[in-house]
Symmetry: C2
Subunit: 377 residues, 2 copies
C-alpha cells in the first residue's frame, strides 16, 4: 500500500448524490479547491481518490477513499487533518476504519510498554489487572495518599489520579504526586508488591516539562493523560520520550466518536490512541454511567489487541461505573488484556483495604473470556 | 460571582427525570462519585450545584449549574474538563453559555493583538479585512509564494497557509515559510502595503519551538493554528509568549459543536477560542461548502465582539467557500470586524493579482452592516 485507505459510512443529505458527495469529501480533505481550479498534475498527486461507493442500507453508503501518503507527510496531526479536519464541520460522515500502510505505521510510536511491558512492571501475568481512581476531587493530598496506600496494600495493580485532579488548592499537583508516590512506595515495600501510581499529567502545555520533573523526583513510572485535552500529538511525544507507562483518558473525546457523524469509537480509542502511544486506554464499560454498548467496548478491545505492524498491544481499562460486586460477571466477558478500574464502589466501603483485597481476589480467581476477535478454539 | 455558571440544554433519555439528570451532571463533572460515598464537607466544597431546571419545550430542559472556581484551579484544560470532560461521553447535553467570573477571566490571556492590534499591523481601519488561503496542497513553495505575492500586490490584507499545508515534501515547512515570507515582504515594499503572512504552525508538539524559530527568522508576524489539533492550551501558551497574531482554524473541532450533544458553536469558536488567545477565528460562512447557518455565524461574531472582562475583541474570519462574486451581498450582513477569506474562487481566475485587487476593492467599497448584537441607532 502506498496510500492511506479510509472506509466511511456516509449519509448524504436529501437529494444529494452519494458518489458526488464522496468525491467532494476526497477533495475537501486534501486540496480543498473546486474542480478545474487546480493544475491537473497537482490534483493527481495530492487529492484523495474514491475507490468505492456502495449502498449500505437505509440511505447510507459505504465509501472507500485512498489518500496519497505524501499528503500526510508523516505528521500525526496532518493525519488527523486528512481524516477529520474540515469534514468535522460537515454532517453525515462516519470514519469507520483505516488500512494502515507500513510506511505510516513506522512513523507512529505505538505503546512504549504495551501489555507485556506493563505486566512486567506490575508483575502480573496471565490475568486481567485491577486499578482504582483516586477521588473525589476536594480531598487533601494526604487523604488521597492514604486511599492509594490502602488500595496498594489490598493488592490493586494500578492507582491513578481521577482525571479531574489537576492543580487545585485542595491537593496541588506537586504535593499530591510526592505524597501519594511516597505512600504507595511504602506499601509496595511492606507487601513486596509492585503497585503502579499514575498521576494525572494533563495540564498546561508549557508546564508539562515541570510536571515530568516532579514525576521523576517522585520515582513515578506511569501517568494519566487525556489526549483530547492536551492534543493527541502530545501523547505521541510523551510516548517517544518520557519513559512512562501512559494511560489515555477519554475525557473531552466523546463527541468525536460514535453517532452518525464522527470517528468510529474503535478507530479513535483503539487504533489512534494506541498508535499515538497509549499503553492502556480508559473507556466506560457498558452498563455503567455511560451509554456505550458492550459491542463498542469489544470493538475497542479488538483494535487494541489487533496486529498492527508489530506494535505492542494496549490494555483496555474499563471504568465509568464498574461495580466491584459485578466483576465476576464482567471479567469473563472480555479477554485477559483488560484492567478493571473501580472507583466509587470501593470507597463506599469503610474498610478500603479489605474492599481492595476482595476486588483483587475476585479478578484473580475469575477466568477471563477470550480477547475480542481471538479465534474460538 | 465566585462560581462558574454554566447553562445547558438537556434532553433526558426516555423516562429519565430532568432534575435527577442535572444533579448527575453536576456530580459527574466534579467529584465523580455516587451520592453518599463522599464526606459531606468535601462534597460541599467541590461539587457543582444545580441552580435551575426549567422545561424548554419538546422534551428539553434549560439547566443552570454553578461550579466552584476552586474545582477548576485556573487551568484552561481543567476548565474544559469541567465543561465537557466526561459528559462528552454521554448524550443529550448541549453547553449553551458560560457566565465568566472575573477571577477566571484574569487567568485567561485573550487575544494578544485583537481587532485593533491586527488593524494596526495591516494598516486597515474602519472596514472589513480581506484574506486568502494559499492552496492547493501539492503546489511547490515557489508557486505558493508567487500566489501570495500576487495577492499582496493586489491589496489583500492577510495571506494564510491552507490548514492542510504541513511539512509535506511538495512544500516543506521551513522552505515554504522562508520563500513565501520573502515574496510577501518584497510585494509590501513595492506597494507600500502591509500584507500579513500567516504560516500554518499546526504540527508536532515537540517541534513547535523549532517552527517558531523559523517564523522569527522569516520575520513573520502571524500564524495559523488549529486548536482542536494542537490542544486549546497550546493556543493559550502561544498567545502568552509567541508575540504572533494568531488565527485559529476550526479543523477537527466541528464534531465538538452544534447538534443535540456538544458545545454551542458560539461558546467554542466564540468565547473559548477568543479567551485562549485567537486574534481571529476562521469559520465557514453560511451558504458555502459547510452546513452552518447565518445565525450560527452571527452568534459567533457576537461572542467575538462581546464585552468580556476588558479583553480585546477578535475578528471573525469567514471562509469555507465564500465566492468573491458574492462579497457585495455578504459584507453588509456582518459588522466591520470581519475578515473575508476567499480561496478557490480567486485562483480560478488566470490573472490572480487583478482578481485580488477586485476583491479588495469590493470589500473596501461595500459598507459593512452592524456587528452582531450592536444596538440599532
Amino acid at each position: 500500500l502506498s496510500a492511506l485507505r479510509v472506509r466511511y459510512r456516509l449519509r448524504p443529505a436529501a437529494g444529494e448524490d452519494a458518489g458526488r458527495r464522496a468525491a467532494h469529501l476526497a477533495r475537501e480533505q486534501t486540496i480543498e479547491i473546486a474542480e478545474g481550479a487546480a493544475d491537473p498534475e497537482v490534483e493527481r498527486r495530492a487529492i484523495g481518490r474514491v475507490a468505492e461507493v456502495a449502498p449500505d442500507g437505509a440511505g447510507r453508503f459505504a465509501v472507500t477513499i485512498d489518500y496519497p501518503l505524501a499528503a500526510i507527510g508523516g505528521d500525526l496531526l496532518q493525519l488527523l487533518n486528512v481524516l477529520w479536519g474540515n469534514v468535522s464541520l460537515q454532517a453525515g460522515v462516519r470514519v469507520e476504519s483505516i488500512e494502515w500502510p507500513r510506511e505510516l505505521l513506522e512513523r507512529l510510536p505505538g505503546p512504549a510498554f504495551g501489555v507485556e511491558g506493563v505486566r512486567e512492571l506490575c508483575r502480573a501475568h496471565g490475568r486481567p489487572l485491577t486499578a482504582t481512581a483516586l477521588k473525589p476531587l476536594g480531598l487533601s493530598s494526604r487523604e488521597l495518599a492514604r486511599r492509594a496506600a490502602e488500595c496498594a496494600l489490598g493488592g490493586i495493580d494500578l492507582v491513578k489520579d481521577d482525571h479531574g485532579l489537576g492543580d487545585q488548592e485542595w491537593a496541588p499537583f506537586r504535593e499530591r504526586v510526592l505524597t501519594v508516590a511516597d505512600l504507595v512506595e511504602r506499601a509496595n515495600r511492606s507487601t513486596g508488591g509492585a503497585c503502579l501510581y499514575a498521576p494525572n499529567l494533563t495540564g498546561s502545555a508549557d508546564r508539562i516539562a515541570e510536571r515530568l520533573e516532579t514525576l521523576a523526583e517522585a520515582g513515578v513510572r506511569a501517568a494519566l493523560v487525556a489526549p483530547a485535552l492536551v492534543g493527541l500529538d502530545a501523547l505521541r511525544a510523551l510516548a517517544e520520550t518520557s519513559g512512562l507507562v501512559l494511560l489515555a483518558h477519554p475525557a473531552f473525546a466523546g463527541s468525536l466518536a460514535g453517532g452518525e457523524h464522527g470517528l468510529a469509537p474503535e478507530l479513535l480509542f483503539g487504533d489512534l490512541f494506541r498508535l499515538a502511544g497509549a499503553d492502556a486506554v480508559v473507556f466506560p464499560n457498558a452498563g455503567g454511567r455511560f451509554p456505550w454498548s458492550y459491542d463498542d467496548c469489544r470493538a475497542i478491545e479488538r483494535r487494541l489487541g489487533a496486529a498492527l505492524g508489530g506494535k505492542p498491544g494496549s490494555f483496555l481499562m474499563l471504568g465509568g461505573g464498574v461495580d466491584r460486586a459485578r466483576l465476576a460477571e464482567w471479567v469473563p466477558r472480555y479477554g485477559p488484556d483488560t484492567i478493571w478500574l473501580v472507583g466509587g464502589s470501593l470507597y463506599a466501603r469503610a474498610d478500603l483495604r479489605a474492599a481492595a483485597r476482595e476486588m483483587a481476589e475476585a479478578v484473580s480467581r475469575t477466568p477471563p473470556g477470550r480477547a475480542a476477535g481471538e479465534a474460538v478454539a
